[in-house]
Structures are given as structure tokens and as C-alpha cells.
Subunit: 200 residues, 2 copies
């Protein structure tokens, strides 16, 4: 058991170090040597956990989305009204991602220019996973009569699409603007979207 915990700790430490190095110098300039030094382990130990630099970067992105999905699930299970939960989820999605990369000086597209294709595939998958969590809540809302008779899957995808432009894909967080301003914009947008979803 102790060995398993240690393995997980090292993996987490590598991903934490990845986050710091990406913020500091971007993907292209990050080397496995740097990473090993940052964690304080040998280069070979890094390769025990990951097959390549690309895998490490993609795992790091996956980790952010996994944590976000957990947050979204938690909100979707709250006892408040469907509309209130849906708004909270939309706002959380944007703000969580903003916070996750607010220390990066470049946009994600610039940081990951070298692995663009695989990152885009990842985004498509993550989008689908997030949409499922939203669709589940919308289905509940449609079933209870709180929401109009909409298709939960289509509505979930539209809602996410509508808030995508506030995510730090192509714009750095600096270019996106102040956190407070982003929060205000996503909240206003969510209110408008909610009106389109709730039953009349």
C-alpha cells in the first residue's frame, strides 16, 4: 500500500512540476531533464510514469478536466433548483478553467503549438464528457417540468458551445481580461441561456 501511495505521489509531483514549467517557459522549452530536476528525481523515474513529454502535457490537461468534472458533478447533485444548479455549473466551468491556467503567460494554443492536433482531439473528447454531465441535469429538469421539452444532449452541447469563447484556449488569461469581468460576462450569458431552457 505504501508503495502505491508513493507512486501516486511521484506522478502527482511530476504533473505539478509540469504545471510550473509550462507557466514559466511553455511546452517547447520544457525538457524531461528540467522536469526531473524540478521534482528532485532522476530522469529515469519520470519515464517510469510517462512515456514522453507529450504524454505528460496531455495528462496534465486531462487532470484539470478531471478535477473540473468532479466539481460539475458535485454541483449537479446539490439540492437547489435545476436552473440554479445549471447556472452555477456554467459559471464554474469558465472560472475553474481560468483559475487553472491564470499563471500561464501565453494562451494554451501557443503553449501547446507543437502538439496542436492531439490537443484538439483531447478538447473534443473533454467537451463530450462535460456535455454528458450537463445533459444529465437538463434531463432531470425536463423530467420534473422545470425545463422546457428540449433534447438534453443538444441543449448541453449548445450551452457549452455558447460559453466556449470565454475559455483560455486561444487567448491568454491576460488577453481574456480580469477574472471579475469574465465572471460578470459568463453570468450574464448564463442568465440569457437559462431563459431559453426553463419551462414557460
Amino acid at each position: 500500500m505504501k508503495g502505491a501511495t508513493k507512486t501516486r505521489d511521484v506522478k502527482t509531483s511530476i504533473l505539478d512540476a509540469t504545471d510550473r514549467l509550462l507557466a514559466r517557459r511553455g511546452y517547447k522549452k520544457m525538457t524531461i531533464d528540467d522536469l526531473a530536476a524540478e521534482v528532485g528525481i532522476g530522469k529515469g523515474s519520470v519515464y517510469l510514469h510517462f512515456s514522453s513529454k507529450e504524454e505528460i502535457a496531455l495528462s496534465h490537461i486531462d487532470g484539470i478536466i478531471e478535477r473540473l468534472k468532479t466539481r460539475l458533478y458535485e454541483i449537479s447533485e446539490k439540492k437547489s433548483g435545476c436552473d440554479k444548479r445549471l447556472k452555477e455549473m456554467l459559471v464554474e466551468r469558465v472560472i475553474f478553467r481560468f483559475d487553472s491556467v491564470q499563471h500561464y503567460t501565453q494562451s494554451l494554443d501557443d503553449i501547446f503549438a507543437n502538439i496542436r492536433q492531439r490537443l484538439l482531439e483531447r478538447r473534443t473528447r473533454h467537451f463530450g464528457e462535460e456535455a454528458k454531465i450537463f445533459a444529465k441535469l437538463i434531463k432531470e429538469g425536463v423530467g420534473s417540468g422545470a425545463f422546457a421539452k428540449i433534447n438534453p444532449d443538444d441543449a448541453a452541447r449548445s450551452l457549452l458551445l455558447a460559453t466556449n469563447s470565454l475559455l483560455p484556449y486561444s487567448l491568454s488569461t491576460e488577453e481574456l481580461g480580469e477574472r471579475k469581468e469574465i465572471q460578470k460576462r459568463v453570468s450574464g450569458l448564463a442568465d440569457l441561456l437559462l431563459k431559453g431552457v426553463v419551462a414557460r
Copy 2:
């Protein structure tokens, strides 16, 4: 008068040639010499109309948005219902931009990497100009009772923000997907947004 027409023709020819060169090789590899050769004029003639390559590229982008704004105005002046016009404008905004750069193999962010900062400033200005056209129609809809009592400026900005992720900023048109698919997505999104705007 004839001189003025000629001057305008040359300017238009330069911008048309810019479009072809950007599609073919991107901003970085486009030179004033190439441009002059493409139009069939001397390099000096190019400088009669534009002060720099940067100005030419930005004028090209401005031209696309000017033509789009004209289209949006035309739709906003139609005789159909406010909701119908608003949806048509949202769809047109996305599809017009898609069509304008569908022959480019890279995303606009990649093509214009060298003038990113000025391009972002441009985007902010264009966004505001488009929002004004939408706000005018929304104001009409609020006044006639077709739309709910919303703030036209805020609503316009939210509607544009919601459809921004379907624009070819950071994704090439190839990455964005099929035109038909984009049209379907923006249409579905517009329907949802419309429900949030129309009076109950």
C-alpha cells in the same frame, strides 16, 4: 473621377491579392514584392496606398468585417419579425466569416501570429461595431414588445459572445468542421438564445 475610380481599383486589387497570398502562404511569408507581382504593379504603387504590410493585412480584415456589417444591416432592415431577423443575423455572422476564410489552411491566429496584439485590438473594435447593429434590432424588439425587457447592449454582447466560439479565430476552417455542421450548430444555438430573448 476616373482617377479616383482607378485608385480604388488598385486598392481593391491589392487587397484581393493579399487574400490569395495569405491563403497560399500566410502572413509571415507574404512580401510587398510578392504582392506587387501578384497585382502586376510596381512595389512603389503598393506604398502609394498602404504604409506597411501590417496595414495591408489589417485593412484586409477590416474589409471582411465591413462587408459583414453591411450584410447584417441589410438583414436588420428586413420586414420580417424581430426574432426571425435576429436569428438570421446570428447565423449570417458565423457563416459569412467561415466563407470569408474557408480557403485559408491555417487559423487566423496562426496566419497573423506576427501581429497578434494589433489583431486582438481590431477584434475588440469589430466586436463592438457588430454589437451595435444587433443592439439596434434588439432595442426595436424590446420597444415593440416582441422581446423581453432586456438591456439591448448587454444582450447584443452576450449573443455575439455565445456565437464567438464558432468563428475561425483560433481554429482553421478545417478544424472547425464542415460548413453544413457549423450551420446546424449555430442555428441550434441561435434557437436557444432566441428563447431567452423573446417576450413571454
